[in-house]
Structures are given as structure tokens and as C-alpha cells.
Symmetry: C2
Subunit: 216 residues, 2 copies
């Protein structure tokens, strides 16, 4: 790989690291807003989503510029297409954080999550936070090991989603339909966030090692 091209690719990677950090912060803030009914934090998530979208556009522009200027072939070309996939997944993770923040806002000043569900949601938020962190670390340090753990984290999120549904559909549920609907959608937002983190991770492994991830 040409030196100049490597530098360009590094620049793209740094933009992706920034996006991973933005998605992580967004979901962490959205979860805090959700569990504490904090309007200011929730509003902040909505405002900051524009930044993630702007970084996404920068990645696309940079990749297009590279494709045009360097006309890379074969493996180098695949790497750039992979960067686009990663950016897409990270942008989607930011969108899902926005959905969580909007759910929180819709119920304020009440807390959208009844206390029985709060521990499970907190755990989902915590695993999702770790997943977004790993993507950033793997991108920044070109260390593929962290990405391999993402699938186990994803299994943990799926299991937490099952727990969430069991609580809402159990005989002891006393909050009615509206909060169950909110709970179901929230569970899905975290589960989708984790799914996109896994996909991004697989692509990141390819980006940093050249090992081909199965296409999703």
C-alpha cells in the first residue's frame, strides 16, 4: 500500500473514531435522560445528532475524494467501501440513541421507564456503551481482539431484551399497555444499536486486518 494512501486511510479511520465516540455519547446521554427524565440531556442528544450526520457526510466526501484521486484497486478499494459501511452503521447507532431520547421526552416530566424495568434498561445501556467504546478502540488501535467480543456483548443484549419482555408480559405487570409499548420499543432500540455495533465491528476488523467479514 502506498504511503500517501495509508495516510488518507488513517484520516478516514479518525473520522470513524469520532463517529463511534459520538454514537457512544449519544446513547449514554439518551439512557441517562430516559432513566432520570432529564429534559436538558435529552434535548442535547437531539441537537448533537446533526454533528454525527455531518461527520458521516465528511467520511463519504473523503472516501469519494480518495476514490477519485487515488483510483485504488482490489483490496485498497474494498477497504474504502468498508469504511462507508462502518460510517452507515455508526450513523444508524446515533439515530437509535435519538429514538431513545425522544421516547424519554414524550413521557416527561414522568420517567418513561417503570422501576421494575429500570435495572434491565440500565444493563442494556451499559452493554451498548461498552460495545460502542470497543469499536472506537479497535479503530484507533487497529486491534481486532476487542471487535471479536462484540458478538458476546450482542448475545447479552438479546438476553436482556428477553428479560424485559418477560417482565412486561408477566402476571405481575401492573403498568398497562402504554408503558409496555414504550418498553418494547426501547428494548428494540437497544437491541438494534447492539446489532449495528456488531456489524460495524465486523467491518472494522476487515478494515484493520484485511480479514473479510461476512456481509450483513
Amino acid at each position: 500500500m502506498r504511503y500517501e494512501y495509508q495516510v488518507d486511510l488513517l484520516e478516514v479511520s479518525l473520522l470513524l473514531v469520532a463517529m463511534a465516540e459520538q454514537a457512544r455519547t449519544a446513547m449514554r446521554d439518551a439512557s441517562t435522560a430516559l432513566l432520570t427524565a432529564d429534559r436538558e440531556i435529552a434535548d442535547g442528544v437531539l441537537h448533537k445528532d446533526a454533528e454525527t450526520d455531518a461527520t458521516h457526510r465528511l467520511v463519504e466526501e473523503k472516501v469519494c475524494e480518495l476514490l477519485a484521486r487515488q483510483a485504488p484497486v482490489a483490496a485498497d478499494l474494498r477497504l474504502l467501501i468498508t469504511a462507508l459501511h462502518i460510517a452507515g452503521d455508526l450513523a444508524r447507532m446515533g439515530d437509535l440513541a435519538e429514538h431513545v431520547a425522544k421516547t424519554a421526552l414524550r413521557r416527561m416530566p414522568a420517567v418513561a421507564v417503570p422501576e421494575e424495568l429500570a435495572p434491565v434498561i440500565r444493563d442494556m445501556a451499559s452493554v451498548c456503551d461498552r460495545m460502542a467504546e470497543k469499536i472506537g478502540q479497535v479503530l484507533a488501535a487497529s486491534d481486532a481482539k476487542g471487535a471479536a467480543q462484540l458478538e458476546r456483548d450482542d448475545d447479552a443484549v438479546d438476553e436482556l431484551q428477553r428479560q424485559l419482555f418477560a417482565l412486561m408480559l408477566g402476571a405481575a405487570w401492573r403498568h398497562g399497555v402504554e408503558q409496555a409499548v414504550d418498553g418494547a420499543l426501547l428494548g428494540r432500540f437497544y437491541e438494534r444499536f447492539a446489532d449495528h455495533a456488531v456489524k460495524a465491528g465486523q467491518h472494522v476488523v476487515y478494515l484493520v486486518t484485511g480479514y473479510q467479514a461476512p456481509m450483513s
Copy 2:
């Protein structure tokens, strides 16, 4: 634009038309399976999703091959990146049809949708079907007019989703939490399908006219 390049681009477009048709059929079948609790049709949706993924891979390979062989610049390059976006949205639409089919399967032999919700779900399915059809038509006929209508269709789907929620959260709801949770998730699957159709449509307009769609 060089003639050879135009032919290549046409080939990519035809693959996208095939994907649009696959996504449309998948959601139509999934909706039928959902409303009639037809296991065979629902199973068919799950099996056929692999075909959509295979076509998605073909688009990516074709685009990479084109980037490598033709080394296009500027507008030509943007078009190919746009084709990747469209393929991504269409693949996601296929996934959402799969989610609908899985929801149908989970409740069989019962029908997952209570009769009060069936008309709204049927309308959502019908608008989504029209949207997927338009994407295919616009791609096949390079006519941007149909794509412009997609946003109105999307508004219709959003309104139907609101109706769905009003039914489940209303005082007359007598089906309990589990069916409301299913209804909420189903509403979201159709709503997301419509969103991706709008995004795909914006990109299709760019592909066939060169007019830049706002990035999502």
C-alpha cells in the same frame, strides 16, 4: 459519460430493480402471512431473504469492479456510491419484511393481529407495497416523478401508525399487553420500511437525474 460506463451502470440499476422487487414481494408475502396466519408463506419470506442478500452482494461486487476498472471521477463516482446506498436501503426493507414474517410465525396458529388492528395493518401494508413498487418503476424507467410521491406515502404510513397506537392505547382495547407489544413492533416495522423506501427513492432520483438528495 462513456458508453461502456453507461452500460455498466445500467447493469447495476437492473440489479437494484431486482432488489426492489424482492423487497416488495417479501413485505407483501409477510403481510399476507401476518393477516392470515399462513405458515408456508411466512417460511417462504425467511427463505427468500437470502436471495435479497445475495443480490445485495452482487451490487457491491459490481460497483467495486466498476470502480477498479473504470476509475470514475466526480459525478460518475457519486452515482456508484449512490447505488450502494440504494442497495443498503432495499436490503434493510427485506429485513423488515422478515421481522413481520417472524412476528406472524411466533403467534401461529393464532393470527398475531387482533381484528380491530387488521384494517390499519392492511392499509400500512398496502401503502408500503406501493412505495416499493414505485422505487422499482423509477429505477427501471428513469422517471423521477414517482419517487417524489414517496414522501406523501411516508406521511400516510406515519398517520396509520398513529391510528394503530391510538387503538392499542384507547379505553376500548381488550387484548392486553402482549398483543399491544406485537402491534407496536409491527407498526414500527412498516414505518421503518416506508422510511427506507423514502431514502432509497431520494437516492434513486439522484441516480437517474443527477439531482443531489439530502443525505440521511
